[in-house]
């Protein structure tokens, strides 16, 4: 992005806050590694959200305080975390039964690319030099009720991550419900991307220019 772009759009924390606003009271939520983890910090007061981490904990709490880290209490990103009162530990088969069985309400994931049909690519750039690694991403998109993506609208080199068709290997097809980028909130409706909210200073025209996918407004 050009220097001028810096003044418009949401910060990463504001993006996380936008996601948090859409997480309802009582939801069971799985947060992906990286940017999605920020969401937990912005859940509005009065809402109780239970966090699932696929490595075997329902009721994940905050990141462990320095000095209180337990190498046997980690999240899916292998960060040291805590457990809330009322938490439960379980094995991997049970944990992915929760995911695949549709019991998790919302999962927030990062993305390399999201297509206008809601296809998600977030596990492999397809670069043959990279070590392939998938983790639980494909299980999450296949099983969780609602998939939110939180992502910068464009890559560092300025290419749009909101694309007509993913060129990177897919994580899942038609799985994303909503995209929270630094420029807008987009909703996938009937295989089309609708603008739900524009970030401050962002016009529809500007957003379309920054998007490879065709966008619609209600």
């Amino acid at each position: 992005m050009k220097l001028a772009d810096k003044k418009i759009g949401w910060s990463v924390n504001e993006m996380a806050q936008k996601v948090a606003m859409d997480i309802y009271d009582g939801a069971y939520v799985n947060l992906g590694i990286g940017m999605p983890e920020l969401v937990a910090g912005y859940i509005p007061e009065g809402r109780e959200v239970i966090y699932h981490t696929e490595n075997g904990l329902l009721g994940m709490g905050k990141i462990a305080e320095p000095g209180m880290e337990d190498p046997e209490l980690v999240n899916a990103g292998k960060k040291y975390v805590t457990a809330i009162p009322g938490a439960a530990y379980f094995n991997h088969a049970e944990s992915f039964a929760m995911i695949r069985g549709g019991h998790i309400n919302i999962c927030v994931l990062g993305a390399y690319q999201v297509s206008e049909e809601g296809d998600l690519a977030n596990w492999s750039t397809g670069n043959p030099d990279d070590i392939p690694a998938v983790g639980g991403a494909m299980d999450l998109v296949a099983g969780v009720e609602t998939i939110f993506v939180i992502t910068k609208h464009c890559t560092k080199s300025g290419e749009s991550k909101i694309v007509k068709q993913c060129t990177y290997p897919l994580t899942g097809k038609s799985v994303v419900s909503r995209i929270y980028s630094d420029l807008a909130i987009l909703e996938v409706i009937n295989k089309r991307l609708f603008v739900k909210e524009l970030a401050p200073g962002v016009t529809f025209e500007y957003l379309q220019k920054k998007s490879d996918a065709r966008l619609y407004m209600d």
Binding site: G59, F90, A97, R100, H103
Partner: protein
């Protein structure tokens, strides 16, 4: 804020609708949610498909539900018990349909539904009448049958204790089908003997994590089905 504990058992089962598939926990009387079943009798929903290991004893609990003509079909491993009168009568007169399933296959089909597995291959029942009409396939040169997940609209489950998040613990062999039925239904309704504070259950010992539970009703003194049967009680 999350509080799955509902005040009345009527409210707990109020949305069970005609034609619903309802799982009922228990192995004989152990783990059978007698009070929830009786609430379902009061609710009156008809044409139910019931998934339960047995088909009830005497004229209470599941037998009462069947006697009240609310059950169109039962999916079951062992409908025959020593003091079972209602089901045999209804079955012989063609008033109830039976899908007989080996007990382990029944459990696995329920678990599969809860775990998002649509179908699986097992050797159980191969070469028996219960494999007739089922799709066969060899793995490692052994014949298997294809078995499908059983999903439910509702599960009625009995447990020992629950907190407001819906975390559950069970008592001894009354656990049986409870945990997997909690997983397999869109709406899981639990009767618990005790209400527990959040955090009172050791997170290492939670048997059913709250994510699988929609509503909890506290029944402090649940009836022993065998006593009701011995006393020849009827419901309603």
């Amino acid at each position: 804020m999350i509080n799955k504990i509902v005040k009345s058992i009527e409210v707990a089962v109020a949305d069970v609708f005609d034609g619903a598939t309802v799982m009922i926990s228990g192995f004989g009387e152990a783990g059978s949610p007698v009070e929830l079943i009786h609430a379902l009798v009061d609710n009156g929903a008809k044409n139910l498909t019931i998934v339960s290991n047995n088909a009830g004893s005497g004229n209470v609990g599941l037998a009462a539900l069947i006697e009240n003509r609310q059950v169109r079909k039962i999916i079951c491993s062992f409908p025959r018990t020593a003091i079972s009168v209602v089901f045999p009568e209804m079955y012989r007169s063609g008033k109830i349909e039976l899908e007989l399933v080996p007990q382990g296959t029944l459990a696995e089909r329920i678990r599969a539904a809860g775990a998002g597995i649509s179908a699986f291959y097992t050797q159980t029942s191969v070469d028996t009448p219960l494999a007739e009409g089922k799709e066969k396939r060899d793995f490692d040169n052994k014949t298997h049958v294809l078995e499908h997940a059983i999903k439910a609209d509702f599960s009625l489950v009995k447990c020992l204790g629950a907190d407001k998040y819906g975390n559950l613990i069970y008592n001894k062999t009354a656990r049986n089908f409870g945990p997997i039925m909690c997983m397999a239904a869109k709406t899981t309704i639990v009767q618990a003997k005790n209400i527990l504070d959040v955090g009172e259950i050791d997170p290492e010992c939670v048997i059913t994590p709250g994510i699988f539970v929609k509503r909890v009703v506290i029944i402090t003194n649940p009836a022993d089905e065998s006593k009701l049967v011995a006393e020849k009680r009827r419901y309603p």
